[in-house]
């Protein structure tokens, strides 16, 4: 009976502009009751923007939304919810200091005749809802005492406490274990039986076949195709999802690797274990895998920012005991964090002061700053990295994303580092600047630097790396050389 049903939701010609970018360009989406519709695409493909328009967070610039056969034009979340459209965000929106019942009914608490909140009824109804989904949770428990997975379940129940027809789930499984994921899928089956249409966003290719009915693929804010989840070919889907011309973006001159720079030994830390990797002079080594696979945690542990629980590592053959950022920098390591603005830069300080931030001790050994030296260093790296600014006295916050990233790179080049860890080096940077960064990375390894890169963008990993370690759930699954790099190959180990 699946093909016969009428669609509950039809979005067509949806366009959304943000200042300077076209986030969505004529996108369409059709959902059926009792079906799971998977949205597939890379970071920045426009999936989140699309569902935010659907749930009333953003308003569209163009296009139509037809709900149960009628045109609808809501402008905020509350109105969308009135139609029965609910969203569970990637970040959970629960109040940790309140009970499950209070969270489920937040904003629409049942009232008694006196107009006061009827907590008894709230608990009773919550219990019924929880039981309905086969969840063994006590409505009187506090959210803060629940696991992430349990909180996710509460989010689902919270969505269900409204009369609900369309449920949007934005990467619900990114922080769940396999067992918890199985539980979530069970619940989704329940919802399908209740004729709820589900829009499901995930990066995990293996989940698509397990839960999906239809798949819509998006890329760079554009609609690419809608496929049947059960019959589609995964490789085709990935090609459609990534499919951009790679040749001119990534220019690499693969050199013969030199001496060993980094070697880890059974490293165990916050979200990773048994990590054995090496990096040599002249090579770009990537850690690939899904978000949450433990890659950033490895980088932060190596740099002494997060603790190492077991194992250790050698830098240029020297064992680094009790690493700290200070010690690691003095031994020649550098780290470009994933969150540039929060961890890499001082946005409200001048460019030149950012550039010398990590080399103060080295370049001003007698404790006293020298304005001239600072200016010279600033201008030297402005030239070297072609940082687009008229004056190195300007604040870093005024630069574009790509130029900000160049400032971070400059900061590290100003130290005497030889190993640079790039965590998501091109996140939030437009394509032109990306190519510049890649060219720069290539130039650096040609000069004998070693680079350890962490990236969630498959294209980048494939285009730039000499070698790739693929990670899944905190462990290295495979080591691939650049000749054997394909998306399918990486994904096979990553999921």
């Amino acid at each position: 009976m699946s093909g016969i049903k009428k669609p509950i939701l039809q979005m067509a010609g949806i366009t959304k502009r943000f200042p300077g970018t076209l986030a969505l360009d004529q996108v369409q989406l059709t959902c059926y009751p009792g079906k799971v519709h998977v949205l597939l695409g890379e970071n920045g493909a426009g999936k989140s923007t699309l569902v935010k328009i659907l749930s009333g967070v953003y308003t569209r610039d163009e296009g139509t939304i037809e709900f149960e056969g009628r045109q609808v034009n809501y402008t905020n979340v509350r109105e969308a919810m009135a139609y029965g459209i609910s969203i569970i965000h990637q970040e959970l929106n629960l109040l940790p200091e309140r009970t499950i019942a209070q969270n489920i009914y937040i904003g629409h608490e049942p009232r008694n005749q006196a107009g006061l909140i009827d907590y008894g009824k709230m608990v009773k109804d919550s219990r019924a809802l929880l039981k309905n989904l086969g969840l063994d949770l006590n409505p009187d428990d506090y959210i803060k005492n629940l696991s992430i997975a349990q909180q996710q379940m509460v989010e689902v129940v919270k969505a269900l406490s409204n009369r609900i027809k369309v449920l949007i789930m934005d990467e619900p499984t990114s922080s769940l274990t396999q067992k918890e994921i199985a539980k979530l899928f069970e619940i989704m089956e329940q919802l399908k039986k209740q004729n709820v249409a589900i829009i499901y966003i995930s990066h995990r290719m293996d989940e698509i076949k397990r839960v999906g009915d239809q798949v819509t693929i998006m890329r760079d804010g554009k609609y690419i195709a809608t496929l049947d989840a059960k019959t589609m070919d995964l490789d085709d889907a990935i090609t459609m999802m990534v499919g951009r011309k790679i040749d001119n973006l990534y220019a690499r001159s693969y050199n013969k690797p030199g001496k060993e720079i980094l070697r880890t030994r059974d490293l165990k830390g916050l979200r990773f274990r048994n990590v054995n990797i090496t990096v040599h002079e002249g090579e770009i080594v990537s850690l690939s895998g899904l978000v949450g696979a433990g890659r950033t945690e490895i980088a932060k542990a190596l740099f002494g920012y997060d603790p190492i629980e077991e194992g250790g590592f050698q830098l240029f053959g020297e064992e680094i005991k009790k690493p700290s950022p200070k010690k690691c920098i003095s031994r020649g390591m550098a780290f470009l964090p994933e969150d540039r603005k929060a961890e890499g830069l001082h946005l409200l300080m001048p460019i030149k002061e950012n550039i010398v931030a990590a080399c103060l001790k080295k370049d001003f050994p007698n404790f006293i700053l020298n304005g001239k030296t600072e200016q010279t260093l600033g201008e030297l790296y402005q030239d070297k990295l072609r940082i687009a600014t008229s004056d190195v006295d300007k604040l870093v916050g005024e630069l574009s994303g790509g130029n900000q990233q160049k400032v971070v790179i400059a900061k590290w080049l100003a130290t005497s580092c030889k190993l640079i860890i790039f965590d998501e080096p091109t996140r939030g940077i437009d394509v032109g600047a990306k190519a510049e960064i890649y060219a720069l990375m290539d130039e650096l390894v040609s000069q004998g630097y070693g680079i350890l890169m962490i990236s969630s963008e498959l294209g980048e990993v494939i285009g730039v790396s000499d070698r790739v370690y693929v990670m899944r759930e905190g462990e290295i699954q495979a080591e691939l050389s650049h000749e054997s790099l394909t998306q399918e190959n990486i994904m096979r180990y990553a999921i």
Binding site: Y305, P325, K326, P337, A342, H346, M349, A357, F367, L369
Partner: protein, 319 residues
């Protein structure tokens, strides 16, 4: 020249505010206000205490903290060292006062950086401890009537017609200006204030920097304690009165931002002068002391608005 104005719009505009206030007072009551005797009394005798205190407060606020305890450290340091000064043992007196200040500052710094207590709470706790100990020490008996060779520290004039207290304040200002603007330590302090994570990830020991800042504050407070004793001719546990609030107010009026990273010791001087001149002018005009609080509050709020206006202006210039 124009470049200089653009870069220092913040500092220069605050001097303008100060001049406007001074000009206003001069118009209202020129004979009493606008004469060298009054201006020098305010600048050289009364303001130094507020200025020295707001140096410390400004530095704490630059590191995204606050130092509630300074005024009480002033009291404790003076109560503990007072009897030595009274007996003419100046070296011992200074040693004890500075040791007390450094210890209290180190306690603040350690609580904040190693134990992880929020700066307001840590220094608030130290505030109570220091004041409580001071009361225990004084037990109701003030030390009064210090020898002349001690009082000279504040009242004497090493340079003719410039009291030593003003000289000391100038020296401290130059030292701190150099420390905060021209050394690695100062740069690290600003870096940590703007973004502590990025600072640590740049290999700077931000915790050490913050601890040193609070220790310097303790030392400043101890110095103020000694100087105040010499001015007031008494070790009085009630001198803390307006010192803490005035120094916070001076920092705010001087453009220091609780968001961290923004502010400077030269701006603190201007902020402190603004406050002291307001108090002086209102006394001279014989306006009730109670109004001074209200007016200082008004100036703080005005300076916040002013800050936002400057921010917009600067942004426009950059864009």
């Amino acid at each position: 020249m124009i470049d200089y104005f653009k870069k220092n719009v913040d500092f220069l505009s605050r001097i303008t505010i100060l001049l406007i206030i001074v000009a206003g007072m001069s118009v209202i009551n020129p004979p009493a206000f606008l004469n060298w005797n009054n201006l020098s009394t305010v600048m050289f005798q009364q303001a130094p205490f507020t200025i020295l205190m707001s140096f410390g407060m400004t530095m704490a606020i630059i590191t995204k903290g606050i130092d509630k305890s300074m005024a009480s450290i002033v009291v404790l340091a003076s109560m503990l060292s007072g009897s030595y000064f009274k007996n003419g043992n100046l070296a011992m007196g200074f040693l004890i006062a500075l040791a007390v200040g450094a210890a209290a500052g180190l306690l603040n710094g350690t609580l904040i950086t190693r134990v992880g207590v929020a700066p307001f709470i840590a220094t608030y706790g130290t505030d109570f401890i220091a004041l409580g100990l001071a009361y225990v020490v004084c037990a109701g008996r003030y030390i009064y009537d210090f020898p002349a060779n001690f009082r000279v520290i504040t009242n004497g004039c090493f340079i003719p017609s410039v009291p030593n207290i003003a000289l000391v304040t100038m020296i401290i200002f130059i030292l701190l200006w150099f420390l905060t603007r021209k050394t690695i330590f100062g740069r690290s302090m600003y870096l940590a204030g703007f973004n502590v994570d990025a600072t640590i990830l740049s290999g700077i020991d931000a915790k050490k920097v913050v601890t040193v800042v609070y220790t310097i504050n303790g030392l400043l407070a101890a110095l103020v304690g000694v100087l105040y004793m010499a001015r007031l001719n008494a070790a009085d546990p009630n001198i803390s009165g307006n010192l803490c609030l005035d120094s916070i107010a001076a920092s705010l009026i001087g453009g220091t931002s609780f968001g961290g990273g923004k502010g400077s010791v030269s701006n603190a001087v201007i902020g402190a002068l603004i406050i002291v001149f307001i108090r002086n002018g209102m006394n001279i005009m014989n306006i009730s002391t109670n109004w001074q609080q209200a007016v200082v509050g008004f100036v703080i709020i005005f300076s916040v608005f002013y800050e936002m206006a400057i921010g917009r202006l600067t942004k426009k210039r950059m864009g």
